[in-house]
Symmetry: C2
Subunit: 300 residues, 2 copies
């Protein structure tokens, strides 16, 4: 089993209705790799500047994350994002975005990464996603995420990647934008028709749907009575989902259902603290405990 | 087993983004009784005018609804509501409201109604709900719904009824308003602390939570790829939920979970057509089929 994740590692400044945190660690690759690390040993491909803290790299390694594909640009500055949340944790505004070293990022996969079981193309541009795809031998499973910016600015390239994708992640807004369908059930079905074997439609606090070609699974979000920082919930969902599937070695429905429950569980931990803080205290037994609780919560 | 429902029977004019329908049959009592009729023989207490169509009364009777408590006011006009939906089916505006015979409605229960297993006080004012409670022998289970109007205008009376309630239904907006909690999990827990044994928190297209004293159940809405008219979804949920519990004769968690799934199922049928139209074609086997499908959809 092997999972390669290509995405962003970042400094985030987070403003919530209650608190502000400056330059904490974030990024799609960071969150998804940490979530996946509870199930497999993810390998990441990303870029940072010299300002990236060694303790964070050490923590990622301690969690079993392979950093061979993490490029450190001498004298470079790490990607920076500042976001602000209002009372609705599903809504956020980007206050500031400095691409820094991410601007010239042309991911090159170490040779040991070029034959993965699962390749996860996280929130990088579709052009870069194609560039990564060209470097790998036929991976067993290609997973892909995107953001509104690329749906609007590079729809053709995005569509080409989508056609080579087995598992596509989208949130409700992105699914509506890509299909022109307000109804999420119709939007999910339309996306499955465009290529992927699975479409994972994330609805934030309302849970997620997984659309297969001929079946549908729905999981609620694990109930959270105090959302501290919603950042990284979607990436944590994707990382746990793919990490579990990498360990399971199958895309059959029973494994996919479990994967989505783990996705919901890891997302629910992430939002309990700022940035990646919660990963520092969360034990495998905590994950299993919450998996059992969520399974019980939805069982009829 | 016996279920008595006190609420409104109405003419509704419905404007959706696509269609307008004038003066079709609606009302909380109508929807909840029809939904309950798939599980038990509900008795209704409501008022209509002379304009109320005989074919509708005949249809209710055919579905096993006991109309002994339905008062027809000579020369009176039936309660009228006009609502408009935008693209989001969870949001609606009231365009017009004519109380008509509902203005002087003082529900009097037929003697055969005064010892129910379950008494459902639907969307009538808390003063009327207390008036009804004063007429019944100690019912095994009191269920209650309300609307924003009464939460804002009669909070003290509402609180008194809540303290005598076993099962309280609220939608997300009402739960937030009653507790001052934006977070729905906290709002649900707060409501349980105020008296009810069960709080059913309806989230429209996102499903529902049922809060017990020491447990929580979550059910997704049955996926619907074409919402024709969202009116009556919440009332259908409540009616099916209580109808099933009346048949089951227990408030233990396994029965309550099934009841909520049936609630979600009946709501999903209601919104597939205008007003109560869908009840005219829906067979018990359709209900069972969708129950099985929804159970499968959420099963891990």
């Amino acid at each position: 089993m092997s999972l390669v994740i290509v995405g962003s590692v970042a400094f985030d400044t987070i403003q919530t209705p209650e608190t502000r945190r400056e330059r904490i660690i974030g990024g799609s690759c960071t969150y998804s790799a940490l979530a996946a690390s509870y199930f497999t040993r993810p390998r990441i491909v990303a870029v940072v500047g010299e300002d990236f803290p060694k303790p964070t790299a050490d923590f990622l390694k301690k969690r079993g994350v392979d950093l061979k594909g993490l490029t450190v640009v001498p004298r470079g500055k790490t990607f920076f994002w500042e976001g602000r949340y209002g009372d609705d944790p599903n809504q956020r505004d980007t206050v500031r975005l400095d691409l820094n070293v991410f601007r010239d990022f042309r991911p090159t996969l170490p040779s040991s990464y070029r034959d993965p079981d699962i390749l996860f193309l996280a929130n990088i541009g579709p052009g870069l996603q194609e560039h990564v795809l060209s470097q790998v031998k036929k991976p067993r499973i290609v997973a892909m995420d995107t953001i509104r910016h690329y749906i609007e600015s590079e729809p053709e390239a995005l569509e080409r990647v989508l056609q080579r994708t087995d598992i596509f992640f989208a949130n409700d807004e992105e699914a509506r934008l890509m299909t022109g369908e307000l109804n999420l059930i119709r939007a999910g079905r339309r996306l499955v028709e465009r290529g992927p074997r699975l479409v994972v439609l994330k609805k934030g606090e309302h849970g997620a749907f997984v659309f297969g070609r001929h079946w549908l699974f729905g999981i609620m979000a694990h109930p959270c009575d105090r959302v501290v920082d919603p950042t990284g919930a979607g990436d944590s969902f994707a990382g746990a989902f793919l990490g579990f599937l990498d360990r399971a070695g199958t895309l059959r429905s029973p494994a996919v259902r479990k994967a989505a429950v783990y996705g919901s569980v890891l997302a629910s931990f992430t939002i309990e603290d700022f940035g990646i803080e919660r990963f520092k205290t969360m034990k495998p037994a905590d994950v299993e405990g919450r998996f059992a609780a969520l399974k019980k919560l939805v069982s009829v």
